[in-house]
Symmetry: D2
Subunit: 297 residues, 4 copies
């Protein structure tokens, strides 16, 4: 009779992991949950903050217009990429990466409409610039285990949103979170944005949104967890049902891509919703949040 | 420069699939949705029917007691396995497969408490027996593509719930549904119960609940889709959040495993909830259903 | 500090599984390996038997011609489907399921060219017919956990090839094997034919061939394991490299789809190889087999 | 009838991808294959270079001893990590990251035994140091899409081995390769080291080795592809069969972890083989290589 060890160092989370591998990310008691304010918005309590905006800060006009609109619908944060990781080193003509200018326009929108901002940091050299202007530093999924980068972002002291890599286990994700927490930076938000699976249900969709990770994460970590149904589904009509599902499952925030004319978005035109659909989703999210004793307003 | 065809016969669903492969399962218009009554309970409309009960009909006492309790909490159908597909050909002493007797006890519970029943058919030879007593024939995931069996079940004319295999694409699942519809049996319900994934988040859990399949299915088929968070998560604490998430995503029914003393369940003791937790989940589901304009009562 | 059990009842194989769940499929010592003869061909020893032929027994002429050709190239078994499980209940005009006639033609080919045959049994009612004519009963992946069917096939006493479901764990597969072994039928062969994965590398391919399962299976079971690179890859140019890889990894047999004009095959025309490519692959497999101390001739 | 587009921008590779997204990585003709020399060792021709050594350069003694031994068995490159990405920010006492010293010791081993070296670069600030000493810069899977880092490594002009992320598609991997090629750095090697899957077959193994990617990659790219069965399988007994399988499938190199006393390895003690097993594997790989018209000596 052959013997097979049943230790699980790779795939699952053990008591030793909770104690020694991510003691700062792990809950200290069943009710332990982080809460903190970013730009006056409360995380980890009853409010479910909403992040909305275009994938890319395509132009000053665009971002100002979107800021006005999503603010009006009740979004708490304006999102938008000024820098963008692209799978290939070439940019099409339609593609717009507005870089330093984009950061300025985001800040102008914040200033003008009173809506705090979140944008992705892609490279160590831009950390100071983005830390100066953005309320939250977003770390993209491809950098989830870029450990020196995690440390550098953490050391700014700015709030951080850490997106899960689409191939990452919960264990690896919490390990990455621990790299940030160990620097003394406690304003950390996790963000689920889909995992690889044969079951994406459309040839144009690359990921399966993993909502099971919400109760799974909340069972062991006190960190707030946000969902990004736009990137997870890659398909406009599924954004609303998956946003609602995430709230019902216990998500602590929702990020939604919004564009005035989605089919003209410079990247990923299948996923953003327009202003009117965003307003609809806000209403629906509000109802579902209230149904579980939370709120988005 | 090498050429690569981009046809997708296997993984995704094409217009030709909708037209020629599952014309009966496919929607005929954007608003097309099946609705029908089973034992006076409406499917495919505002009501979200709830199926509750133990994994196994362990004894007459158990099933009568559970029937009384889940009925009181508002469940529409009593579920319970009298026959059980087991991964291995051996049965432990604790294991109870009550077979024909179990079917009788289910029927007794139905009769006594006025709650219609659903139970799995595992073998062609038991179809007549189960079709006589059960309001719905449940076809388990392992039989999803047992085509002669699908045909035989369909020909009873009884309502059918077709569980998705944990490795099955939406396309394969709708293909199996078409085998039932083509026999003229229109009272067909789909049931999602988790898919294989590296991301199950617990060593004791085998599946990832796929909620993305709800909007994906509803985009192309008119068939109602039920979710089974108990089997999908295999973990009691996640049943409630995933049930709520499924309702928010648009599920047309929820199946929940209930046992008076879950840790004593004869199979899968990590997944059932007790009466009190079931009553809690019913309340929460009711609130979420109302938030999206539906109801469970 | 939350506690998480680290038992693994679902995904991996424990010592208890080996002892109590599949004691007959489990090795009794590190060198334990089944060997037996089917139609005078040795399994589980140095020889690596090759199964070749068309997906479907499209016509008498086709199967006789293919039999003559694959026999000449050194194949040990002629394969061909007379009955075919189809994902959808409709048959295109090109589709040919020759059923009872196909079984007769296979037997005629066996008789004329002295090559034993293997064909899939799809339905209990055809077991007696196929058991009469075929040297091996092939159980398809969709029936892998159709337990009553496994038992019925096992009771014929005929050799059986059990294909792995594309969503099945090794544990579930060996559980299905145990259902056959427990009936006293020891001439059992496992067959790997690809698993679901986001990494199939072509839109036309549905599966990833899992070669890691070969050493994994051989570590715990004494049963011979055959590979089917044609169904696993679904793509003609990959059949040869994956067949060679499987032999190098320790496969105990290889099944290859062969058609005189692959692009005209009535089903799955992207996967069969023609006679000349089959003869090439036979030569290459022979060299690789010899390199690891085995042989295909 | 609903309409579903069948474009595939995310999961599979189109002709447009080959032309516009990775024109430098794409083959220009069916026989197009890159070949180049690194430290006098030929890549992309008949030779299949072997990389061997410990996971970590634990000490000067260890790396010198391993260098002598793997050189004697015929390895072409000495591998060893001086810097190590760890999933968690804490180091156990047993853990040894020898950093700058480790790089020096590797170089000493190279000098003393005449075996060129490969080691992982983890951080931009160490690129100059490692580029000075190491014959090949290894980019780890977690940095596969750290685009600024890819560019910085490419600009050193040193040969690069780009490991595939365990969640990455072939398309994303070739996109990352293109970032290196576009800098004019042509000495680029791909390395497969396992993908996420529910089918890893052991609770201690995290990945499924993807051998199908070898013919899939070679169909569209001219870049050599190396396999790392040690990291892919995470399990010593499977290293040999998977190494042989990779060679048979067409791999252009093999990386194997070797440690004098594997169970004492400071990280991942389940995966290295000892000197004697490495010598065995070298012999077997030699036979299989010859069987397909290639060689490792």
């Amino acid at each position: 009779m052959m013997s097979i060890e049943n230790k699980n160092p790779g795939k699952d989370i053990s008591d030793d992991d909770l104690r020694y591998k991510f003691p700062l990310a792990a809950k200290q008691s069943p009710d332990h949950k982080s809460s903190f304010e970013i730009a006056g918005i409360e995380f980890g309590k009853n409010l479910i903050p909403i992040f909305a905006g275009p994938n890319m800060v395509e132009s000053r006009e665009l971002i100002l217009e979107v800021a006005a609109n999503v603010k009006k619908s009740g979004a708490h944060f304006l999102r938008g990429g000024a820098f963008k990781p692209l799978t290939f080193p070439y940019r099409s003509e339609r593609y717009t990466e507005t870089r330093e200018k984009g950061i300025e326009w985001l800040f102008e929108a914040k200033d003008k409409y009173g809506i705090p901002i979140i944008t992705e940091v892609m490279e160590e050299k831009y950390i100071p610039l983005i830390a100066e202007y953005s309320d939250i530093l977003q770390i993209g999924s491809r950098n989830m285990q870029n450990f020196p980068f995690l440390t550098a972002c953490a050391r700014t002291g700015k709030p951080i949103m850490l997106k899960r890599h689409y191939g990452s286990s919960l264990r690896d994700w919490l390990g990455a979170a621990e790299y940030i927490l160990v620097e003394g930076n406690k304003n950390l938000i996790l963000c689920e944005r889909g995992v690889g699976s044969p079951h994406t249900h459309r040839s144009t969709s690359r990921f399966l949104m993993d909502l099971q990770v919400i109760p799974a994460a909340q069972e062991i970590t006190h960190l707030p967890i946000v969902i990004d149904p736009s990137h997870a589904t890659f398909w406009r009509p599924w954004v609303s049902p998956m946003a609602l599902a995430g709230i019902a499952a216990g998500a602590d925030g929702v990020m939604i891509e919004v564009h005035p004319t989605p089919e003209n978005a410079s990247v990923d035109p299948l996923q953003p919703v327009d202003y009117s659909e965003f307003a609809n989703i806000m209403n629906k999210m509000n109802h579902v949040a209230q149904a579980i004793g939370r709120r988005i307003r």
